[in-house]
């Protein structure tokens, strides 16, 4: 039986701009199981990106609790939080966010280097993961020399290389055509997801909803509906 990977309870996040206050998260309650692929969906400005940022530990909530694998990130000291993030979380971004001056292998090796792995070892491991995502031949290519789909595969390899327990993806297919988007999702489902690793994906892209184990629909800072092929208790 799987455990809870992400536990959010009454999460509140308010952005203050001058005199204006915008409540981005307004009492979010959400549990995500280990080995589950959860999609966060909803209209623009509903709080998806804020929620994923809080879950990934790169944004502090104003109220409520967010636990990752039983640990409350908010209570961690800064250095602990960095280490936790470096070891346990992988990121896939809409705009890929690869470092343009580094080739594919060097880009993929970055999380390992952040974790203190020696460059040669990191690049060896990065090359192996690139093989896994079908880009072994392109490991020396710069991002600019790769197609959008290939760049996203490099980004997935980067998110996987240090074996994180949670991968957060922000609109991973929205910059890709239909076929590339499906390939990326297939890759994420086949290679990234397993019983010890959880995927949280923010998306607008209805074409990929079918890949989700569950979907949380958000609106105006709330989760209005959680639906999916598997209810949480089954996922657990």
């Amino acid at each position: 039986m799987s455990a809870i990977a992400v536990h959010c309870q009454n999460l509140v996040k308010i952005y203050a701009t001058g005199n204006q206050k915008v409540t981005a998260l307004n009492g979010i309650n959400l549990d995500i199981a280990q080995g589950e692929l959860m999609m966060l969906v909803g209209p623009s400005g509903c709080g998806k990106t804020t929620l994923i940022s809080v879950i990934a530990g790169i944004l502090d909530q104003d109220d409520g609790v967010c636990e990752l694998f039983g640990q409350n990130i908010l209570k961690m000291r800064s250095a602990e939080k960095l280490k936790f993030r470096a070891q346990n979380i992988g990121f896939v971004f809409q705009a890929f966010n690869l470092l343009p001056a580094l080739n594919a292998m060097e880009n993929v090796s970055v999380p390992l280097i952040i974790n203190g792995v020696r460059r040669q070892t990191a690049e060896r491991q990065a090359a192996a993961v690139l093989e896994q995502v079908g880009l072994g031949e392109r490991r020396k290519s710069l991002p600019a020399e790769l197609s959008g789909g290939q760049q996203q595969r490099v980004a997935i390899a980067r998110a996987l290389v240090h074996s994180p327990r949670l991968i957060v993806c922000d609109e991973p297919t929205s910059a890709l055509d239909h076929e590339s988007g499906r390939n990326v999702m297939t890759l994420l489902k086949d290679v990234a997801l397993h019983k010890d690793r959880t995927l949280v994906i923010v998306t607008h892209d209805a074409r990929i909803f079918e890949f989700a184990d569950r979907m949380a629909k958000m609106d105006d800072g709330h989760i209005v509906n959680v639906s999916g092929s598997k209810p949480l208790h089954e996922a657990l």
Partner: protein, 386 residues
């Protein structure tokens, strides 16, 4: 992470080149302009440093710098010789006289008259002839640069190169015949006038008739004699000014520093170079950081600490600083080498390397500081913004 920092820096060749060029320019201006300034200021006292043998220069008490000649009576020489601690004292004439060239034009020359017997105070380097040849009838020794340039004979053909005067050629100094018996190499003076050496008695015959014609008394102290004490004794007993060679050089240097616009003009050039270099390099480096802010955000989100990011930015700043500094200083050195045989004043002491190094370091620190503040304040959550 250092390797990543360097790759980020050099990834965009255009920007990298821009930052390095900004720093090169700043470093060049901060070394080349002061080098010219130092060269120029060195020329103000080059005549004194060229006369190596005497320990003390004695002159009228009102003299402000080496070319501010206030002649003494010849009897002052004997008064100085009579002071205890003086090994020897020799007369020197220094004055501006007009030389008539073969084409009928006139050129003002710096005529130096040396003691007839000892010829003390002569040119530092003889290129042709011997200093003793001054004892020949109407003999003069002329500096090589003057022979090639200001005293050269006009070419026989239009637009032809002037012809250098040679030993045996003659000049007319204040209506007196003068025969070139030697060629010397002297350090260029501030006014870059031709320097002509002759004997003291002959110099007096060339000079317009005046009651006083003794410019300086050159003094050698007895062994173990304290030069400061001897100078004081000369001042006390004669009422004249007496300076060690270094003091006289300092007096001349200070006169030009205080009474000419040279320091402020060069100071403005250097300041402008610093400001423009700082603006170009600082802004380009800051823009480079801004353009890479998302990449820094990604690294931060993935768990890179602020300390590591700070080290990365410092490494980038130090590298571009070193390259820019090296190129600037190298260009200055090349400039100095290329100009070594021209009239341009140029001197490049090691202190200038330290000065420009400090300037470039300041610029890099300033640029890095702006970037570091930006990156440290960066919220890693920006990586999720479209």
């Amino acid at each position: 992470m250092n390797r990543i920092a360097l790759k980020m820096l050099m990834g965009d060749r255009g920007k990298y080149f821009g930052i390095v060029m900004g720093l090169t320019f700043a470093s060049l201006i901060m070394t080349q302009q002061p080098a010219i300034f130092v060269g120029l200021m060195t020329r103000t006292f080059s005549f004194i440093s060229d006369v190596g043998l005497p320990d003390i220069w004695v002159m009228d008490a009102k003299v402000q710098f080496v070319d501010d000649i206030k002649p003494l009576q010849d009897t002052e020489l004997y008064r100085v010789r009579g002071i205890s601690g003086v090994e020897w004292a020799m007369p020197m004439y220094k004055g501006l006289l007009k030389a008539r060239l073969t084409d009928g034009t006139f050129q003002t020359c710096n005529v130096v008259g040396l003691d007839d017997t000892t010829l003390i105070g002569g040119p530092p380097v003889m290129l042709a002839g011997r200093i003793e040849d001054l004892r020949r009838s109407d003999g003069i020794i002329v500096d090589i640069d003057a022979l090639k340039e200001k005293l050269a004979k006009p070419s026989g053909t239009p637009n032809g190169k002037p012809i250098q005067l040679q030993i045996g050629d003659s000049l007319e100094l204040n209506d007196h015949r003068a025969i070139i018996v030697g060629i010397a190499k002297v350090t260029r003076t501030f006014q870059s006038q031709p320097v002509i050496y002759t004997t003291y008695s002959r110099a007096k015959s060339y000079a317009p008739k005046e009651r006083k014609l003794l410019s300086f008394v050159l003094v050698k102290a007895k062994p173990q004699q304290n030069l400061t004490e001897l100078s004081q004794r000369i001042r006390k007993n004669t009422g004249l000014a007496a300076y060690t060679q270094q003091e006289f050089m300092d007096l001349t240097y200070q006169y030009f520093m205080k009474n000419t616009g040279i320091p402020i003009n060069f100071g403005i050039s250097v300041l402008l170079g610093f400001i423009v270099g700082a603006a170009i390099a600082g802004q380009t480096f800051y823009n480079f950081t801004l353009e890479n802010i998302r990449q820094f955000g990604v690294l931060k989100a993935m768990g890179t600490s602020n300390w590591t990011l700070l080290r990365m930015i410092l490494l980038q700043a130090i590298l571009v600083g070193l390259i820019g500094y090296g190129m600037g200083v190298g260009l200055t050195a090349w400039f100095g080498y290329a100009m070594r045989n021209t009239i341009l004043a140029f001197r490049f002491p090691w202190q200038l390397l330290v000065f420009s190094g400090a300037g470039v370091s300041l610029i890099c620190m300033f640029a890095a500081l702006l970037s570091i503040v930006k990156v440290i304040r960066l919220e890693p959550a920006i990586v999720f913004k479209g």
